[in-house]
Subunit: 702 residues, 2 copies
């Protein structure tokens, strides 16, 4: 890693083995407890049973080797280091302080990294009970206070203190409710319960916090983070410098809003109340939101205009994106219509009885639909997503964290205020939270104990990034849509032309657009073949040849790089297969199990294809573009899933529901049904009133 980014850096070091620190950048003060060093030093020497005083001798002995190591590491990056040993006294006297200051300044000016340590060999043993003395004086009793002192003295911008825990917790780490504090404000100190001193002795967390607060008052920001993960130590520091959420950040200024963890907590609590409402009440909230979208349209459009102007001035958004970003009275009206339809659908979503069983006399079991919990929906430029997604969450009784794109920040803020206003009519205002655009998606994806399902709505790049980041939270969606149309030898010309054209050209950027056209060998050199090629030429579709197709032609188009390409544009691959079976094999091998089509007049062939092909959607003589919640008649569409569990293909409201089992007994025990028990299982199925799925017309998105 390059460190020559013009940053100036000093390192306050201990004797601890500190590999990986070669990645440090300038302008950072790295502190690590000297106690930890002595601790490990003692470990190595424990056979000799060293008395306490020997620690200082150890430090002296270790110093030269440590410096050699730092030097060797930094040399790899053509960076010079300098050793600076300081004692308490160097700070007591203004003249000495000045000397130290100018020495360090000079070193930094020469692009040399000072490696600073207390001169343990000559200082008296530390006094654990002598505390930090006021704000202007700080005793150098460990490396934390040394680092703080130096940071302030040198007017450093940031002090990174590496510890053996992730950062500052609100109660001793490991206890039932201990939570890592992301950002700590001096005023919050009373909310912290410290545990017994950590095993690293004097450099415990309380001392670190005191040093950090002292540095903060002196104008240096502080991060306390874990420096002991051997795999990531180097990354911790660069991550912090890049502003990622690592450890605990000490800040003077409390931001206006709650943290995302607090938002999630508020959403979950309010969401539980939302889930307990009567379906009519949830419907009323959604209808009220629909009304507000129309009533408050001036306010919304004004905010939208601000976003549009900002985007236009920045000049960074394409016209397609600007188009997605913009709202209009017409768009708001149709949005309101869509919301009212979701309100209707919400009537029989939560609390529907799916199964009823009489387990025994007076022991009845029900399986009912319930919300999943807390949803995180991430969407890009399009602000109309926010009320839509909010309505879906409300309809299904789920709490929602909505994270919109930065470019729609103003519009989203107004739309979210209206959503909360609507939620407030039944006292569940906090069930929908707008997550600040400052939050990194990756940080959100790490909240695995707090978020139950992530729904990315946006580009496949967005979806892929989220699928990668969200290791422990399920993601509903699809990253790839490599859809195939297979033209069988017994296909009807007119249907082939219609379906291929529609599948590729109706909306080439959609995930359900055709990417590969598979043709049965027998239709090569037929009129049908010529007509397909002519049609694709007329529609200006760029053709890429699969290896077999290329081998059949004298002059073929450019050969494909990969048969797994999602062009997302007026481009497609053509490949030749010998049979329907080979088409299936090809799709299983190169497809993404999204949507695949057969065009044939032979019903047996078609049924074989429909039965054997393992994709979320399999179509016969119909365009791949039908793979869509609205076109399927599911009403409100949550998304299209290519996952193999939970929900697959276009997902309606039911994708946002799970079930729970409710058992009502009269003192029944399992022992009653044992061999020697008095009861026998009945397991009698009881009738369930099956509501007819409603017919709905919802808004199209693409």
């Amino acid at each position: 890693m390059l460190q020559n980014q013009g940053r100036e850096m000093m390192i306050v070091t201990s004797g601890a083995v500190a590999f990986g620190k070669q990645r440090l950048r300038h302008e950072i003060l790295l502190s690590q407890s000297v106690r930890q060093a002595l601790h490990s030093g003692q470990n190595q020497l424990k056979d000799m049973s060293v008395p306490v005083l020997e620690a200082r001798a150890c430090a002296a002995a270790g110093q030269s080797g440590l410096m050699a190591l730092y030097e060797a590491m930094f040399t790899q990056y053509s960076t010079c280091t300098a050793q600076v040993l300081v004692t308490n006294l160097d700070f007591h006297d203004d003249q000495k302080r000045q000397n130290l200051n100018s020495t360090l300044q000079e070193l930094l000016r020469m692009n040399i990294v000072p490696i600073i340590n207390t001169n343990d060999a000559v200082v008296p043993p530390p006094e654990p009970n002598s505390d930090l003395q006021g704000v202007n004086v700080i005793s150098i009793k460990d490396n934390d206070s040394l680092a703080a002192r130096l940071a302030v003295e040198m007017k450093a911008d940031l002090l990174i203190a590496l510890s053996d825990v992730e950062g500052l917790y609100d109660s001793p780490p490991g206890s039932d409710d201990a939570k890592l504090i992301d950002i700590f404000y001096p005023g919050d100190q009373q909310s912290i319960t410290y545990g017994a001193k950590s095993r690293v002795g004097l450099g415990g967390m309380e001392a670190k916090v005191k040093a950090a607060l002292w540095a903060l008052q002196g104008g240096t920001s502080v991060v306390i983070a874990n420096g002991t993960h051997p795999k990531v130590t180097g990354h911790v520091i660069t991550d912090i410098v890049e502003g990622k959420k690592v450890g605990t950040f000490f800040s003077e200024v409390k931001p206006a809003g709650p943290t995302v963890e607090q938002q999630t907590e508020m959403a979950r609590n309010s969401g539980r109340t939302l889930a307990a409402l009567h379906p009519d009440q949830r419907g009323a909230i959604i209808c009220h939101l629909a009304d507000l979208l129309v009533e408050k349209k001036e306010e919304i459009l004004a905010a939208n205009k601000t976003d549009m102007d900002l985007a236009a001035n920045a000049g960074q958004l394409s016209s397609a994106l600007l188009n997605r970003l913009s709202l209009s009275p017409a768009k708001l009206n149709s949005l309101a219509i869509g919301l009212r339809q979701i309100a209707v659908a919400s009537q029989d979503s939560v609390g529907r009885v799916l199964r009823r069983t009489r387990v025994a006399h007076n022991l009845e079991l029900e399986q009912i639909t319930v919300p999943i919990g807390v949803l995180l929906v991430i969407f890009e430029a399009r602000p109309d997503c926010l009320p839509q997604v909010s309505a879906l969450a409300i309809a299904s009784g789920n709490a929602l964290l909505a994270k919109g794109g930065k470019e729609a920040a103003n519009t989203n803020r107004v739309l979210h205020e209206l959503t909360q206003e609507a939620l407030d009519i039944h006292g569940v205002k906090e069930a929908v939270q707008l997550v600040s655009t400052r939050e990194e998606v990756e940080d959100l994806c790490r909240l695995d104990k707090m978020i139950d399902l992530i729904i990315p709505r946006g580009s496949s790049q967005l979806v892929r990034n989220i699928q990668r980041a969200a290791k422990s939270i399920p993601v509903l969606g699809h990253s790839e849509g490599i859809c195939h149309v297979y033209v069988d030898s017994e296909a009807a010309i007119d249907k082939v032309i219609k379906i291929v054209r529609d599948s590729k050209c109706d909306y080439p950027a959609a995930c359900n657009a055709m990417e590969t056209l598979l043709m049965h060998r027998d239709i090569l050199r037929t009129t049908l073949f010529d007509q397909i090629i002519d049609m694709l030429r007329t529609e200006r579709v760029k053709i890429h040849a699969g290896p077999r197709f290329a081998s059949y032609l004298t002059f073929s188009p450019s050969e494909v790089k990969s048969l797994r390409t999602e062009y997302g544009d007026l481009e497609c691959c053509i490949e030749v297969v010998d049979s329907m079976q080979e088409a299936i094999d090809h799709i299983h091998r190169y497809g993404s199990s999204h949507t695949d089509v057969i065009v044939t007049e032979n019903e047996d062939t078609a049924e074989q294809f429909l039965q054997q092909l393992d994709s979320a959607c399999v179509f016969w003589n119909a365009s791949s573009r039908f793979a869509d919640g609205y076109r399927f008649g599911l009403g409100a569409e949550v998304g299209i899933s290519t996952a193999r569990i939970h929900a697959r293909g276009p997902v309606g409201l039911e994708g946002l529901l799970t079930t729970k089992w409710v058992l009502r007994g009269d003192g029944h025990t399992a022992a009653d049904f044992s061999e020697h028990g008095t009861l026998k299982y009945l397991h009698e199925n009881l009738p369930v009133t099956q509501p007819q799925p409603r017919q709905m017309v919802a808004q199209r998105e693409d």
Copy 2:
């Protein structure tokens, strides 16, 4: 990391910055291409536009700094290093070879790690086209061949060659079907297609493979792995030494069976045929397996006896485990009965129509159930799991990889042979694969493109490990069962005593056993309270006091360490709450959303609890022990899931199914339905013949 495990190690190094290698262990030869080093060296110097010859000067210049780095790093582990520079000539002459050999032997004997490099400053530039010359002579044209030469010379056991790719691929990495080869046999060489030389020049993969094969013939095993992941480089080497599946291992001996990747591929292919069978055929396979379990019982019991004897001799298994391991004619009979019930259930599992919609005239949509794909089921000692799980997979049309415990290896082998015999009656023998006990569960969990769902059946430790390892594959199951019984102020004494006793004592190790008893404040110091405590004492249940409960008592039992403890034994926590609402809050905070019970005579209170509590199973006046697929009447139980998507609570066969959408049209296109199109969506719901869920009695497990 300690390296003093008595292993001897030599390092063949390049000038590349090689941090993290401090973790090397003895007995390893670490090779990294010198070309890579020169390549990066040139990068740093590119502004000076160095001619080719300068590379050797660079190497000479870098050598001292590099050695200082190695020395500094190894010094941290109190290990000495020695620099050895060699040239081609050192191998040409027997005397010189002898000298080199004895020097290295002497260094190793003195526990010094030789750091070996070619003396680039004095050798002629490498000749890319001079190939390895026969088996006994190998020219030292790069560090790969140098390492191979040295490894054989020094009779090393293992040579680790670090590359910039994961290992050896069967076709150029990045191409459509490139697969990493886990184990490479010299005879397989013709199956490899090499790409253009890698960017690291002469040290390309082909050269590495040739060097590796040469070393292999000389008696040294070889692993080629990726050494360029900065985060894990140190771990790569220790992982390899620990025998983990990293990179490509070169072996002389081809193992008897297919690799697990090949097994997965075979299972998926055969599984697709299984899924396409008629339900009667799948039922017939399961019934045939049931017959075989009875017919071949001597064979099964003989194998089981072998396992039992081995376990008894090893003396490592507890009597409970031995009990689980043992089979008997009675167990086999009831197993066969259970299988026949699964055969019945299989009739309406796959291909069931869940939804039918007339999208438009002649355009009909169906949502049908289909298998999930390839299941990986991991189970422990109990061998009866294998036929049960196989039957569930067959019934649901899924392919299965079954991984049983080592202690049941012989029994599992026989049971698996019978399963394949049964599958063979419809030509789908390979749909169920037994994964060798040699395979690491973690390696299996990494096959995320090949396995669709993992089902761990065993201890919560097993489940936790698998949930941790399987980052990209969904896991069906639960790791924790922290179940609560809340005794309301209006509870009936007899029901409380019955339910609390059954919930805790019926089978304390079960996941649905009570761990925490919540009591309404009003029942403290009542007869009910005394009776509960008496009962728990009689049943020898050890009581731990929650903080509030402790505060109410003069002499309280030991206070709990955590309110989130799963005792899994005759122990429980008692805590006091002020109200039903507080009980819900407590459970939401400390529970695991598995199963929670309220005991009360007040129906309103009960319904509030059932409605508000967010657990997979919520019971009123019934023991927590009813949370079980068999007791729920689901028939064959796949497991109990505490996940919030897909399946929740006790899961029956339907947990092994997903759906697909089948659309049958007549040349329909999306454009037909556009504003200017001629068609309108009907979205008419068509009737679905709803089969009554069958009633089944299946085998109990615990």
